[in-house]
Each structure stands twice: as C-alpha cells, then as structure tokens.
C-alpha cells in the first residue's frame, strides 16, 4: 500500500512559565492509503499536538504527502492539500454564537459566500453519510455535547478530505452514533481515504483500526499491525489490556470490585422537578430521584434527554418550574448554589467551561472550592498551596508547574483538574459527601479512567452519596447500585444493578416502557 502521509522527526516544544514541555520529540509516523490508523497514548502524551502540527507546522521535522515534502503553514493550506480534522477541543474549534452553517464556511468557494448553498450542502452530506439530523441554522451554543461533536465531524468530512483526522470523536456520542460513525469510516476506507483516529476508547482501536501507533511522553513507543496482533489476542479484553500496558509502560488495568453495602440514610431527594432548557422547551418533566449515602445512583440516558438540565435545576443553577429538593431532611429548593454546595455537595459538570477558568493557573482552578474554607475573608495561602500540590500529585495531573494556565494542559489533564477538585470537597462537620458527576471520565485515558472509577467506589464506601450521570453504559453498569434511565425528560424506570443488563437499560434509553422491557 502507498504511504499517503509521512511525518519524520517531528518536534514540537511548548515554553511556559520557564518550563519546557517537549510535547512531540522526534516523532516518526506514517499513514497508508486506505487504512484506519489509531493514535493512542495517555493524557498529555502529545497526540493532539502531533496532529496539530499538520495544520500549523512543527518546530522541526519533515512532513511528506504522497512522497512530496510539504509545508503546512496554516489550516487553509492543509485543507487545500486534502486534510480534514475534527478537533478534540470544541470550545476552540466551534464558534458558539454562530450557526452550524456559519461554522462550516470552509467549503465556500469564490469571493462571495452563500449561506443557503452551504446549508443545502450540509443537509446533503448529513444524509449521504448518515450522520443524523442537524439543523444548519441552529447556533452552536444551543446544541448538546454530542450534537457539537457531530458538527465537528461533519466539518471535517464536508470538504471530502483524503486524510481524515478524528481527535476523540466519540467521547460524547451515543452507542448508535458511534456504530454509524465506524460504518461510515469503513466505507470511506473502502473508497481509498485514510484515517487517523485518536481515542481513549481502546476497544474502538482494537476493533476497527488497521494499525496502532502508541505515544508516550511525546515519543513513539511502537507501531503495531492490529490484524496480526489480533491473532495473538484471545479476546478484545486482552487486546485492550495489552495496548493499555504499552501506553502506560506497566500493568494498568484490572477489574473493579464494588463491595456490597447497605445504604440507609437518604442524602438527597428530589420530587417532581420540571424545568426548561435555554430555548424554553420543557426538557425535565416531573422527575423524582432519591440518593442515599453509601450509594451510587447511575442516571443513564442518551445525552440531551434532560439529564444536564435536571442536575442544574437540582442545584438551583437553573430555575425549576416546580418541584422540591431536599438534602438530609432540609428543603433546599431555591436556596443559593453556594448554600447548597456548603452542605457538602460537589459537582462535576459535563460542560468543562462551567468548571474551569482556562486563563487562571492550575492552582487557582484547584482551589475553587477550598478557597472559602477559612473562617475569615482571607485565604489560607500556604495551606491551599499545599492542598493543590497534593491533588496534582494524587490525580497525576501532568503540568509543568502548578502556576501555568489550565489552557496549556492537554484535554484529559484539564478534566483531571476538575475531578481532583470536586472529589476533594470536604463536607461540613462529618456529613457525608454528596457528589454529582456528569461524565466524570470524559476525555481521560484508560489508566486514569480506572483510577477515577476506583476513587468513586472508595468514596462510596466512605459514605458518599453519588449521582453518576453518564452516557457511557459500561461506566453506569460497573459502578452503579441503582440505575435510573432518563428519556425525553422523564425517568423511564429505576432498575437495581443486579437486574440491569446492557440490553434492558439500552431499551429503556431508547424510550421503551419499563413494563415492556421486564415482561
């Protein structure tokens, strides 16, 4: 097979706060025509940086397209050479205030642009590639995470690139959407297109890729032929473990154990909540939930079915039209978010923009809760500095220094900052923690995902009440004691984890009534 893209000795260094980060160090990488090449590695390994150098040239190193050396100075040049990319950081690559069509001006030709033409083209391509429904006239900020991700993929595809680069394209997609995406990738592959796939869902790499290149600390560890390797792996599971070990450099995956516990105290109870979304549609309709200490309640559902709005209404970050919220026997409906959080509530929002201040340092981001622990108007600086050092250490946040802006961290490490901060909330006088997490392992590498899930279980054992909102069924099934499924703003049913299977939860998520599923 011909090599369409070859990168040789690629280096990219970042300078920040007097520290030098070699994000890519003499990387050699090649992509064959008609292959899916998975690019894997831990958070901060340099994957996004590497594909980024195809759109803004690296510090040094050679890039050849079809054997010819090229200089890819800017995204437009790259686009003209037939490269398309769906980026990981959507806050940077999609403009929130603009419509979908306005975000996809790349295909406009000539001097004048016609939005109608682009809108028609978008609809055509959506149908052709089976990417589901999207209204090109809708503004980005109104979309759910998954929808944004589909826009980003569409943006990459619409120019019909020969080399398609997908940086964590599936992190917010539903299982069906993921299936569709890979069907599409296979079709493209058959048409001779080449694909670079970056993902932390290793099963995707094992099942769909032709080759796998693994990065560790900016260097290539190995490139393996997936088809050959599969002959040695007895199962998908074993393949995943083998790759994970290569990524981390040691044994890293093992089974989680959820010890049986008998929850007794009700930590938080919500009754009949109704709430609207930004557009004024009623997206939470009479939801009731009960969360006990020592318990993980999984709130499953395809993202965009009102889960995020429910949580926001619960925390009074969004106005609830009706309903009540009780924490440990106290009615907290319409209390301020500060008052609610002070009862020992921690919250990891799905939208990172709500949790991180990108321009402030890692340290300042880590103390967004703990800064107010002192009784005076002063902050206990030394103590807080110490706390943040510990968190960086414990959650293995890869940052050159606690004082660099969070903006410079890799996607996964940003998420670690949020998780580290919220998992370390100290509830007042010995009360149990109430932890509300939305997609906590979003963008995290396998090792860290494992770590975060373990932490959740540890906190559960220590008495925390945890509401786990996740679109990742595996996560819900391995961690939850009780699973509630949300569909179109309603709880379809609540199932004990013993009775829950991938199939019956999946049916509930698709809107099938509980009685039908369990009949």
């Amino acid at each position: 097979m011909d090599i369409v893209l070859e990168m040789q000795g690629v280096c990219k260094t970042f300078y920040g706060d007097g520290v030098i980060v070699k994000a890519n160090d003499q990387v050699n990488f090649n992509l064959k025509k008609g292959e899916i090449h998975a690019l894997l590695g831990e958070n901060g390994a340099g994957k996004s940086t590497l594909v980024g150098t195809l759109f803004r040239k690296p510090d040094s190193g050679i890039i050849r397209l079809n054997g010819k050396e090229v200089e890819l100075n800017d995204p437009i040049t790259a686009l003209n050479y037939g490269l398309g990319i769906a980026r990981q950081d959507l806050t940077k690559s999609l403009i929130e205030r603009h419509t979908i069509a306005e975000n996809i001006l790349s295909i406009s030709k000539g001097f004048f642009l016609s939005l109608t033409e682009i809108e028609n083209e978008i609809i055509k391509v959506l149908n052709m590639y089976d990417l589901g429904e999207l209204d090109p006239k809708v503004r980005i900020w109104k979309l759910s995470g998954g929808e944004k991700q589909r826009v980003e993929i569409l943006k990459a595809l619409i120019s019909d690139p020969d080399i398609l680069i997908l940086d964590e394209p599936t992190s917010m997609l539903t299982p069906t959407e993921i299936d569709n995406l890979f069907k599409l990738l296979n079709k493209l592959k058959a048409r001779g297109k080449s694909i670079i796939l970056i993902s932390h869902h290793l099963e995707e790499a094992v099942n769909y890729s032709d080759r796998i290149t693994i990065l560790r600390q900016g260097k290539v560890v190995d490139t393996i032929d997936t088809h050959k390797a599969k002959e040695n792996w007895k199962s998908e599971e074993e393949g995943i473990r083998a790759i994970a070990n290569l990524m981390v450099g040691r044994e890293s995956l093992y089974d989680l154990y959820r010890e049986p516990l008998k929850p007794v105290n009700v930590a938080i109870e919500i009754k009949g909540i109704n709430a609207k979304n930004e557009m004024g549609d009623e997206v939470v309709r009479g939801v009731g939930l009960k969360l006990m200490d020592n318990q993980i309640v999984g709130l499953a559902g395809i993202s965009g079915n009102g889960q995020a709005e429910l949580v926001e209404a619960m925390l009074n970050l969004r106005k609830a039209d009706s309903g009540e919220v009780w924490i440990r026997g106290m009615n907290i409906t319409n209390k301020s978010i500060r008052a609610i959080k002070n009862l020992g509530v921690a919250y990891v929002p799905e939208v990172r923009r709500k949790a991180l201040i990108l321009d402030l340092s890692v340290r300042e981001n880590l103390l967004l809760n703990s800064y107010q622990y002192s009784p005076t108007p002063m902050i206990e600086n030394d103590n807080n500095a110490l706390i943040t050092e510990e968190l960086i250490d414990r959650f293995n946040i890869k940052t050159p220094s606690p004082l660099v802006p969070v903006r410079t961290l890799s996607g996964g490490n940003r998420q670690k900052v949020v998780v580290a901060r919220e998992f370390s909330v100290i509830p007042p006088d010995g009360a149990g923690l109430i932890l509300i997490v939305e997609n906590p392992t979003f963008g995290l590498d396998v090792g860290t995902t494992q770590f975060v899930r373990e932490e959740l279980l540890k906190m559960r054992a220590a008495g925390a009440a945890i509401l786990l909102v996740s679109s990742d069924l595996t996560e819900i099934l391995t961690l939850s004691d009780v699973i509630s499924v949300m569909y179109k703003g309603r709880i379809m049913g609540t199932v004990d984890s013993e009775d829950a299977t991938r199939e019956n939860i999946g049916l509930l998520m698709g809107g099938v009534e509980l009685e039908e599923v369990f009949s």
């Binding site: 970042f14 301020s336 949790a355 600086n381 500095a385 660099v404």
Partner: protein
C-alpha cells in the same frame, strides 16, 4: 496577511508576558507614544524635543502641583483597577468624581456648624457614599440586565446627570453672587483639608522639624540650564527654587494608604493565590463568570463590591480636589475620570504600576498645562497626549498575549 514574500501573522503566546518584562514592554510602548506625539507636534511647528524638555523642567519647578494632580489620578485609578480586573468596564469615573466634588461642597455648606475635625472626615464619608451610589446603576444593569456592555453604557450615561447637577447647583443655588462667573463660593478656610504647606512634621528622637511650606534648595549648577529655557510667564527665582507644597493636601496619605491596601488585599499573590477571597473571586469572575457562578460565587456581590469601591474612591478624589485644592466648584468637568482610565491601563491594572503611571500622567498634565500657556497650544492638545498614550498602552496589552511573526512563503 502577506507582504511581498513574507507572510505576517499573529500568534498567541504560550504564556502571557508578566512581571519585569511587561514593565519593559510598557515603557517601550510609552516611548513609541511619545514619539508619535512628537511627530504630531512637529507638524504643528513645535519642536518636540524642546517640548518634552520643557515639560520635564516645569514639573521639577512645579513638583508640588504634580503631586496634587497625582493624588486625584491615583485615587480614581486604584478604584478603576478593581472593576477592570473583574471585566466590568466602569468608564464613568468622571461622573462619580464630579458627584464627589458636589458632596464635599455640600457637606461644607450644610454641616458648617460642625467642628472641622468632624466636618472634614464627614466630607470624605459623604463623598465615598455618594460616589458609590452613583456607581450602583452599573451593578444592577450588568448583573440583572444580563447583557454585556451594560456596564459601559450605564456608567457612561451616569456622567451626564452628575455634570448637569453640578452646572445647575453652581449656576443656581450654590452660586457665588460676588463674582460675575459661574463659580460657587469658596469653602471656608477652616473647613479645608490641611495641606502639606502648613504641616510641620515633628520627628521626636531627632528633634527635627520639617517644614513643607518652604523647602528651598540652591540650584547653582543648573542655573545656566534654566536661563536657556523659555518658560514664559512662569517666574523663576534662579538662585533658590522654593517648592510651595500648598497644592498637596493630606489626602495624599490616604491615597497611598488605600493603594497599598488594595495591593495587599486584592492584587497580591502569595504562592500563586490571591490573599483574600474577594480578590480571588474578582479574578475568577473576570476570567470566566460562568465557572464562578457554578462554583457558587455571587456575580452580583462581586460587582457590587467592585463598583462601591470604584465609585467611592472616585468620590474621595473629588472631595480631595475640592476641599484640598480648588476650594470652589466650577461648571466644567475636568476629565480626570477619563484620564484615569488610561492611567489604570498603563499601570497594568496593578496598584504598584498605577502609582508610577499616575505620576507619569500628572507630569504630562501639569507640564502640558504650563506649556499650554506658553506655547499657545489649545487645551485639547492634552487629550491628544493621553489618547495616543492610551492607544499604545492597549497595543502593548495585545502584545502581552500575542506575537507577530513572519516567514517566507
């Protein structure tokens, strides 16, 4: 952008320029600004070098006047730095200042039965409160109105009622009948803020009296220099220069004290963390209000705090200026509130930087005023000064975040 064979583009810096390097860049920006102004004056047929040299010497001679101006600019600018840091654009400090001057005069008028020991502090208190109240619409429109830019609009619009009120009072109820011009009467001498001119400092152990009213020093060696200068109407006693510190009222100590307080409690970082909760909240709200809100911070409270301080300090500046320096109200607003915006940005939104930049603008303003008389420049020439300087300073802000790069294509 493409220029001949080179492609020129801007790129975000990995880390924003801060600290010493930022100061160097600012000084450079200042220098560029002065050059451009120089060229501008050059076209008007004024030798810019001579102009700057004159400005320098005028300030040496009139150093106490420079300090007097410095007090006003410093107070307003420190107040502005706080909302600016929270990304609340209070561009209406002028109104808050003007209303402060009215508060001072009104207090002296209506509370004249009070002993000056009580009356003068009361002036400051009233100035602070009324200045703060004048800033409140910004809080409500910005926090509750929910559209960005409400702060700009509301704060600016509040300038006009303040100025109109001043015009009304000065030409009406508070008018001094004795003069033909629209001026208020003078604040009685006992109700004025003490000035350094008659302040005697007693240092116990050294048994040493420092009398600010007449610091004189011989100027033998630079005598020739002075003779070469064309300072027009300003009379110089060439053998001894006397600094008369009467334009410097003791508000200067208050201003410097408040500057240090603001630095210590709001702007200072220890271990990469601000010293106070409110300082941290201002940071967070300024950079990402959504995250602040999700974490439980009250946007409203932070804005309220910022605007009270900001309006209050501008009010204090007004009190100081009227009761310590001018002693009577006129009908025109002097524009200190607008100049202070430039001062604040030139100081890098940092009290220590603002100390320096306030001094710099005072030098410009006093120098410019004196030159105005001698060189026949219009008063608005001063606005050109601060406008151009501000432009370059904001440009420097841009370069802290971005670089311009070029490469061959």
């Amino acid at each position: 952008m493409r220029i001949f064979h080179y492609e020129v583009f801007m790129q975000k810096r990995v880390s924003t320029i801060t600290g010493l390097k930022a100061i160097r860049v600012r000084i450079f920006a200042l220098f560029c600004g002065l050059t451009v102004i120089g060229i501008f004056f050059g076209f008007l047929g004024i030798d810019p070098i001579a102009l700057y040299v004159d400005i320098f010497w005028v300030n040496i001679l009139l150093f106490p006047n420079t300090l007097g101006r410095f007090i006003t600019l410093l107070l307003i600018s420190i107040g502005l730095a706080i909302p600016f840091k929270a990304r609340i654009d209070n561009i209406g400090a002028e109104g808050q200042y003007v209303i402060g001057t009215l508060a001072a005069f009104g207090t002296s008028l209506y509370f004249s039965f009070l002993d000056p020991v009580l009356l003068i502090p009361l002036m400051f208190i009233n100035g602070f409160i009324i200045g703060a109240i004048w800033a409140l619409p910004v809080v409500f429109f910005r926090a509750k109105g929910g559209f960005q830019g409400a702060d700009v609009v509301a704060s600016f619009l509040m300038v006009f009622p303040a100025v109109f009120l001043m015009e009304y009072l000065v030409s009406g109820p508070w008018r001094d009948r004795e003069t033909g011009f629209a001026y208020s009467s003078l604040i009685p001498e006992i109700n004025r803020i003490p000035v350094l001119g008659d302040l005697k400092i007693y240092i116990p152990l050294l048994d040493f009296h420092l009398d600010f009213s007449s610091i004189s020093f011989p100027m033998v060696n630079i005598k020739e220099l002075f003779e070469g200068l064309s300072l027009g109407t300003i009379q110089i006693n060439i053998d001894t220069i006397r600094w008369d510190f009467s334009p410097v009222h003791i508000t200067i100590f208050l201003a410097i004290f408040l500057t240090l307080i603001a630095y210590y409690f709001i702007f200072r970082y220890v271990n990469g963390i601000p010293k106070t909760k409110i300082g941290y909240e201002i940071n967070v709200i300024g950079k990402n209000p959504l995250a602040g809100r999700t974490a439980g911070m009250s946007f409203f409270k932070v804005i309220l705090f910022c605007m009270i301080i900001s309006g209050g300090l501008a009010g204090l500046a007004g009190v100081g200026e009227i009761a310590g320096n001018q002693f009577r109200l006129g009908t025109t607003s002097p524009g200190y509130g607008f100049t202070a915006i430039a001062v604040t940005y030139l100081g890098g939104l940092n009290p220590i930087g603002i100390l320096v930049s306030a001094l710099f603008f005072s030098v410009l303003s006093v120098g410019g005023n004196a030159i105005k008389l001698t060189k026949g420049l219009p008063g608005t020439a001063l606005d050109v000064f601060s406008g151009v300087i501000l432009f370059f300073v904001l440009l420097a802000e841009f370069f802290f975040r971005y670089t311009i790069k070029w490469r061959r294509v």
